[in-house]
């Protein structure tokens, strides 16, 4: 998992964006296109910068006339694969009640897609990976797939990374069948994908997950650790009164 510092400030963020995210220029509506371009750059190049995307939503929050549903949907799609971190809900938090009938001529796809994306998010949060895939690949999600996730390079692999992270932490070994339903991969695709991860497979088709801090469990006895400086006050007081 990435550390929180890399999340708050990804190494791929340029100086221009950094200035927008950290400075007061983030409130300038004229800068929204820079941030939107950066979002589309993230979509194309498998990068992710949550704070920069939140800055777009912040501008939309304050300037409802800037609102662009396609951008919002793309931000949500990016945030989806950040599970189990709360990015998705952080984004939703900033989506204020939409002004009514702002642009009656332009159809807004968000109201119809939002419940679907939210369901997908809930399934990922609950690690219900097989259910995620079946909903994602269902007819219901066709317009989401055809209009949005298809543009988002590596979207399915990003979902798989969420899966791998969950499996990594909870399993020592996992059956091939189970893993196949989690990743929505089978046969050679599965073999190739797992090979990339560096996982071994034994004769019975069970995958062995390399030891990591989360799947090595130990019973420990926690001992307190008191340092002398923590006791200075009480000792000083005692010394003074004797």
């Amino acid at each position: 998992m990435v550390s929180a510092s890399a999340w708050a400030q990804p190494p791929t963020r340029t100086e221009l964006i950094e200035n927008l995210v950290s400075g007061v220029d983030r409130y300038n509506p004229n800068n929204v296109s820079i941030l939107e371009d950066y979002l589309y750059h993230q979509i194309r190049s498998e990068e992710y910068d949550c704070l920069a995307n939140l800055a777009i939503l912040k501008l939309y929050q304050f300037n409802p006339d800037l609102y662009n549903p396609d951008v919002v949907i793309n931000i949500l799609i990016k945030a989806l694969t950040s599970s189990p971190f709360p990015d998705f809900n952080l984004c939703i938090s900033l989506l204020d009640e939409r002004p009514i009938g702002l642009n009656p001529d332009e159809p807004d796809p968000l109201p119809t897609l939002l419940p679907l994306i939210t369901s997908l998010h809930n399934l990922l949060q609950q690690c219900r990976f097989p259910a995620f895939w079946s909903l994602y690949l269902s007819e219901k999600a066709e317009s989401l797939r055809d209009n949005y996730t298809v543009e988002c390079v590596g979207f399915e692999d990003a979902v798989r990374r969420v899966v791998v992270q969950a499996v990594n932490a909870a399993f020592k070994r996992i059956s091939g069948d189970r893993l196949s339903t989690y990743l929505n991969l089978s046969g050679d695709d599965l073999t190739a994908f797992v090979k990339n991860l560096g996982w071994d497979v034994d004769a019975s088709g069970v995958y062995v997950i390399p030891p990591n801090p989360d799947n090595q469990i130990v019973s420990t006895v926690v001992q307190e650790n008191i340092q002398l400086p923590q006791l200075t006050k009480i000792i000083t007081h005692a010394a003074q009164t004797v």
């Binding site: 304050f62 009640e97 939210t118 909870a170 020592k172 989360d214 400086p229 923590q230 006050k233």
Partner: protein
């Protein structure tokens, strides 16, 4: 100066005992000096003048003297005098004369203060704050308090160079705090489009810039930039010398007024961003502020409490429960310690209310991320929220308890934009079908997180009983599908990991993933292996408590007078008994650094 203070304070005490007010007996203080100015005003608006004069004659003498004195203290930049007038005089007179009505309007008292516009702005700041806290502000109050705030900040930010004003830190904090409170109050009032009068609708349609989010943020950011407070904090952390810092922060930043306003504006941003639902940005603006008991914000208790409340809350929304718990424990212990000094402070009620909400949030965090608790705090939580707490640790059926505590303890969320007052048609649609209230939106998001980990408490209670267990068997116990159960186990694993700041590192958004649970497990194909961490015996706490106790006994004995000669001395064992239990009340309390469990 000191004599003068005694003079009006004595007056005040005297007046407070009188039942009848001295109406009409006015003027000694100002009459001679101010007469010409009143004549001038008479020429301008005779009628208004007469009304004002009538109002003026209603002002009790002691209040007039207080205002004159207050003005003088502000003119002299005499912080001690201002503090007395601000914290004591104003509140005493409010109790006595203005508990149910407004203070005299600024225009009415203007002659008393030589028509000093700056003082009148400060006076109005207090005037409106009183209206908001004691009375019901009407739309004029709301608009005028906004204008007055603008005037105040304009004066501070857009004069030629820094203004030569000095105010107590408490007041500076209150200025920022009140500014944001009035903004929040306005947004809530504005969002209720129903039951507005014609006049209100008219004013709201025209005044869409009044109390806009942009204008509020603008003030806070301007104060931060003008005072160069972030540069100041960084320079302090780098150990720069006084001269170097003065060089860095410039002519504004060296003045305590600007420095503190800048500092409080950072905390103000933390609050505004939280109210608007931007929890990452809220913590990001705090980037340079160090969260410890020595930080500047601790100098004003109300600020200290506010800071931790919002930081803790933001951490909850970021799923960083250990960080939230740490924030709450730290501030709640502080409030417990401060209680003895603060019972009489006029802010005590407010602090107590916030503390109570933080106990509720603490209970919420603990239900979501069971931790080894701070005994002090957890006992109080059990006392106050025991019922909700046990419900919350029961998964799905505890959801109403989460809901109850969240709504009780969350900030007063606002929406960034007003209803469409400028367009009657859209407004009608808005009234017909109002959007979900901000608090309900945030509640729904929070509950979706809670629901995601609803199965965890039950799983946890089963796993605690075993060292290893077949997943099939476990799913039979729980009457669940095996595959679903395994997926829930992954949720459990994830919920036992959390991002947390390490060693108080800089930047509130930074941190590393840590394990937060004493119960860990791993699945080997279908076999669940469980390991539990236990806490070894804690000697240090025991040692410290008893040392402290012995110290108190010793102090008390030492402070007691020698016993009178007694013919029949009691046995030594009996003598010890009362000595050991008595000293709780007396003696000096010894504080120590918290006994940490590694």
């Amino acid at each position: 100066m000191a004599q003068q203070r005694q003079h009006w304070e004595a007056d005040l005490d005297e007046e407070l005992q009188d039942v009848d007010l001295a109406i009409g007996n006015y003027g000694q203080v100002y009459d001679d000096a101010q007469q010409p100015r009143i004549d001038e005003a008479t020429l301008l608006a005779v009628q208004q003048q007469m009304a004002q004069q009538a109002a003026f004659s209603q002002i009790p003498d002691v209040v007039k003297r207080f205002i004159v004195h207050f003005h003088q203290a502000v003119l002299n930049n005499d912080l001690a005098e201002i503090t007395v007038a601000y914290e004591s005089g104003w509140n005493k007179l409010t109790e006595k004369f203005y508990s149910k009505t407004e203070w005299p309007e600024a225009e009415v008292i203007a002659p008393l203060v030589n028509d000093d516009q700056i003082f009148l702005i400060l006076y109005r700041e207090l005037y409106y704050r009183h209206v908001y806290s004691r009375l019901q502000p009407d739309i004029d109050d709301r608009f005028h308090s906004y204008e007055n705030s603008c005037e105040l900040f304009n004066y501070l930010l857009n004069s030629d160079g820094p203004v030569p004003l000095e105010l107590p830190e408490q007041w500076l904090w209150d200025i920022i705090d009140e500014f944001i409170y009035q903004f929040q109050s306005f947004c809530v009032w504005r969002s209720k489009a129903k039951n507005k009068t014609e006049e209100e609708l008219q004013l709201l349609a025209e005044g869409s810039q009044v109390w806009s989010s942009y204008s509020v943020l603008n003030v806070l950011y301007s104060l931060i930039q003008k005072s160069k407070i972030n540069e100041h904090i960084v320079a302090l952390q780098e150990g720069k010398s006084k001269e170097e810092i003065a060089e860095i922060v410039g002519e504004y930043g060296v003045r305590p007024l600007y420095r503190m306003l800048g500092y409080f504006s950072i905390i103000g941003l933390l609050r505004v961003h939280s109210l608007l639902g931007d929890f990452t940005l809220a913590l990001k603006v705090m980037e340079n502020v160090e969260l410890n008991q020595k930080s500047t914000f601790t100098r004003v208790t109300a600020c200290h409490v506010t800071t931790y409340y919002y930081v803790g809350f933001c951490y909850i929304m970021l799923h960083r429960y250990p960080d939230a718990i740490r924030a709450f424990v730290s501030i709640l212990n502080f409030i417990l310690r401060m209680r003895q000094y603060h019972t009489r402070s006029y802010q005590y009620d407010q602090i107590n209310k916030t503390a109570d909400r933080m106990y509720a949030l603490f209970a919420v965090c603990n239900a979501l991320s069971p931790t080894r608790l701070d005994d002090n705090i957890s006992n109080i939580v059990k006392e106050r929220y025991g019922e909700q707490f046990s419900k919350m640790s029961r998964g799905e059926e505890g959801i109403p308890a989460f809901e109850e505590l969240f709504l009780y303890a969350c900030p007063k969320f606002i929406s960034a934009n007003p209803p469409p007052y400028e367009d009657p048609e859209l407004l009608a649609a808005y009234v017909e079908d109002p959007p979900v209230e901000p608090a309900q939106r945030h509640l729904a998001l929070f509950l979706s997180d809670v629901r995601a980990q609803a199965p965890v408490p039950t799983l946890r209670s089963f796993l605690k009983l075993y060292a290893s267990l077949d997943a099939k068997k476990l799913s039979n116990f729980l009457d669940a599908d095996e595959e679903e159960l395994v997926q829930q186990m992954m949720v459990m694993k994830q919920s036992s990991r959390s991002v947390s700041r390490i060693d108080n590192e800089k930047g509130l958004l930074n941190g590393e993933t840590i394990s937060t649970s004493d119960l860990d497990f791993v699945i080997d194909v279908n076999m669940v292996h469980i390991a539990e961490s236990t806490v070894g015996r804690r000697y240090a706490g025991w040692f410290i408590r008893n040392t402290e106790h012995a110290q108190r006994v010793y102090d008390t004995i030492k402070a007691s007078p020698l016993p009178a000669y007694n013919k029949a001395p009691r046995k030594p064992a009996e003598q010890q008994q009362p000595a050991a239990s008595a000293p709780r009340t007396g003696g000096q309390k010894v504080a120590w650094g918290g006994a940490k469990v590694a």
